[in-house]
């Protein structure tokens, strides 16, 4: 993974010192909350319902064992002993005291981490495929480009006061695990079929929130070395022309929508033509990317056989282990290795939460079994990317008793939920308790396996941090005359077949929503054709069968 050099180190230290000075001024009363607000936001510090919340950047979701241990230390020393992994591949601490935040940032800097640009109307932490570099279907490794973007976007003089926040995602695989079509900019790496040269498809104007949209491709193939000037052109068009009169219309998706895809594309291309980047920019991009890429050279893989007899025997002997292998491991690009997905969704738990002991255990396990590396997924799970087949059983035996072995990745129990009313000051309803109730209702893992791939995503308000628009089943909590009401959407997807869910009908009360999910699942199981997934079924059959099952029985 990427390691800081002396420049990165100095940059983060300097930034941390600045913020320490700003916090001191705030604590002395020299800065009002109004003046302090933009400064703290630029350093990832929010004011929540009950306390400050610090959002720490995990660049493109990659963590070392050492960094994970430091997060555990921070959780214990300055928080309540746990942290919350988010859909942005970040971690949030929900209870830090303001006076401690500079020390926390120093502790982060000690392990090459920071909270820069995890909030505010700037370019946020870049996200990518949690299997980058190890996925069997990968065309090109997106991580060096993500690191380049991390650096390029850090304290960008021109693009730090945008109309609204700005999120970039990159994928290097045809199967999109980074949800690039629902980001402000999505970059898909692919190869020119004629020349074999690698480049980017540039997708702009996707997003969720109150006006969900699927992104539009404005450039089918962008040569790699032109990335920074081209992104600058997009950012400049957005910075100048994005709406600033209405916070809810300020994202780039609205600009793309209002100008139209054609006109927006023309503006970007014209801007790019005027400022296409100098030879120096291209040369330095190339030098820089090859420097960064060396950090992502494959670890020393062993030459292993495709199958491991003892592993096969254990799968045969233990049903529990077999179940976990089936749902929580994935094919690795190197023979004899597997990608391990660690579920942070135990039955009835809070999606994405991990306590300090779990973090330390994962750090140890990563060192023992996975070249010391851990990934955070936008599904709020973790990944150990490089595990030998022969080690899977030993690893599972340690994960299981720590509550980290729930075999539900990609299944119904693997629910995404935003913090909702329990933490968030914008919430109109609870989301965590709904996730917990659904997870308890469907705790039978064989039943989840029988249901097959099913993503449930829950947001506690229209801002859609829980990604409900792109859930196979989406749940949105709203407030109706002082009562929580849950609106259910079906058929959304954030993958390469990106689509937005459709509202099935009138919402449900908190008590009724779990039954409604039960009815939806039963309807699918009853009517699906051979091998048809839930998502495929909703796309084929539409809302009708669900409407009938959910509402027909009601009197009147």
């Amino acid at each position: 993974m990427y390691r800081y050099d002396e420049f990165d180190e100095a940059f983060v230290r300097e930034r941390t010192r600045q913020f320490r000075n700003q916090v001191a001024r705030r604590l002395r009363g020299e800065l009002s909350e109004e003046e302090f607000r933009p400064l703290r936001l630029m350093n990832g510090l929010y004011l929540q319902l009950h306390a400050y919340m610090l959002r720490v950047a995990i660049p493109y979701g990659v963590l070392s064992a050492r960094q994970m241990r430091q997060l555990a230390m921070i959780a214990e020393r300055w928080d309540k002993g746990y942290g919350h992994f988010t859909t942005r591949q970040n971690i949030q601490f929900n209870w830090p005291a303001l006076k401690d935040v500079p020390d926390i940032l120093d502790a982060l800097a000690d392990v090459e981490m920071h909270a820069i640009q995890t909030s505010g109307n700037c370019i946020r932490n870049v996200t990518t495929d949690q299997w980058a570099g190890v996925a069997a279907d990968e065309v090109a490794d997106p991580r060096p480009w993500c690191e380049l973007l991390r650096q390029w976007s850090s304290l960008h003089p021109e693009f730090s006061f945008l109309p609204r926040k700005f999120k970039i995602a990159v994928t290097g695989s045809p199967h999109d695990r980074a949800a690039v079509k629902v980001h402000d900019i999505g970059l898909r790496m692919h190869r020119d079929p004629a020349t074999g040269e690698a480049g980017f498809e540039v997708i702009v104007g996707g997003g969720q929130g109150r006006t969900p949209m699927i992104g539009k491709t404005i450039r089918g193939f962008l040569p790699l070395h032109q990335l920074l000037p081209y992104l600058s052109a997009i950012m400049r068009v957005y910075n100048r022309h994005g709406r600033r009169d209405n916070k809810y219309k300020a994202r780039i998706k609205i600009l793309v929508h209002e100008l139209g895809q054609g006109e927006f594309t023309r503006e970007v291309e014209a801007e790019f033509a005027r400022d296409p980047g100098t030879d120096e920019v291209y040369a330095l991009t190339e030098a820089e990317i090859s420097r960064i890429a060396r950090h992502f050279a494959p670890p020393p893989y062993e030459r292993l056989a495709e199958r491991h007899p003892r592993h096969d025997a254990r799968v045969f002997a233990s049903q529990d282990f077999a179940r976990w292998v089936r749902s929580n491991t994935a094919r690795h690009k190197v023979q004899g290795y597997a990608i391990v997905n660690v579920s942070l969704k135990p039955t009835g738990g809070i999606p994405g939460d991990a306590d300090a002991a779990q973090m330390r255990l994962l750090a140890d396990l990563a060192e023992r079994y996975s070249h010391g590396e851990i990934r955070v997924t936008h599904h709020q799970n973790l990944v150990l990317p490089d595990v030998r087949l022969g080690d899977l059983f030993a690893l599972w035996e340690e994960l299981e008793p720590a509550g980290l072995g729930t075999p539900n990745v990609g299944l119904l129990g693997d629910i995404i939920a935003c913090p909702g009313m329990d933490y968030c000051s914008l919430a109109t309803a609870r989301s965590i308790p709904i996730a917990q109730a659904i997870s308890r209702r469907f705790q039978d893992l064989d039943r989840q396996r029988e249901i097959g791939p099913l993503e449930i995503k829950i947001s506690g308000c229209i801002n859609a941090c829980g990604h409900h628009h792109v859930g196979h089943i989406g749940i949105l909590g709203v407030d109706k005359q002082g009562r929580e009401l849950y609106q259910v959407t079906l058929g959304g997807s954030a993958a390469e077949d990106a689509s937005l869910g459709s509202i099935v009908g009138p919402g449900f009360s908190a008590d009724a929503v779990v039954d409604a999910i039960e009815t939806i699942v039963a309807t699918y199981l009853d009517q699906r054709q051979d091998g048809e997934t839930f998502l495929a079924f909703t796309h084929r059959a539409g809302l009708k069968p669900f409407k009938e099952a959910l509402y027909a029985a009601a009197p009147g």
């Binding site: 420049f7 300097e14 960008h156 400049r236």
Partner: protein, 173 residues
């Protein structure tokens, strides 16, 4: 209002001309875009300099024909969160190679000073009462990751990419 130029405080000598008042015969001017457009042809013989102030929605491209004769472009920030003038300044410097003064006016916060300079601003209009706050809070990063955003006043922040490249060049040599 005084101006900050780097760490120096300098007086503003520009005459702002009210909408219905005639343009004074002498002295350096600061006009709005409408006035400049209306009277452009009568202004260029003046020895004292002509400047224009743009609102964020007024594109700098509108100045294209006059830039070689203007010596000041002031860009207004209606709120510190309105980042449009950063791009305007950048375009003036990088695309049009404008060499005159670029002034930031309006509501800004001290912590934006470096970004302003990096985008090409040379002066910042600051309320008298705010001067101590600006002086105290001027925080400066000595490193920058962006290429082509040199600072226009004071020592430039070191470009990380260039520094790395120079070092690896030395290592290779």
């Amino acid at each position: 209002m005084p101006l900050l130029r780097g760490d120096q405080v300098v007086a503003d000598e520009r005459v702002r001309v009210p909408v219905d008042a005639p343009v004074p015969a002498a002295g350096p001017l600061l006009l709005d875009l409408a006035r400049l457009t209306a009277e452009a042809e009568h202004l260029w013989h003046r020895p004292d300099g002509v400047g224009v102030e743009l609102l964020p929605a007024q594109p700098v491209e509108a100045l294209e024909d006059w830039l070689d004769r203007l010596d000041l472009v002031a860009l207004r920030f209606p709120a510190f969160t309105d980042g449009r003038p950063f791009s305007s300044a950048r375009i003036l410097r990088a695309r049009y190679r404008f060499g005159g003064e670029i002034r930031a006016v309006g509501r800004l916060i001290p912590d934006q000073a470096q970004f302003l300079r990096q985008c090409g601003f040379t002066t910042i209009e600051v309320d008298d009462a705010d001067l101590p706050r600006w002086r105290a809070a001027q925080v400066r990063m000595s490193l920058t990751y962006q290429l082509g955003y040199a600072e226009s006043a004071g020592p430039p922040a070191l470009s990380v990419f260039r520094a790395r490249h120079a070092r690896s060049g030395r290592a290779a040599a």
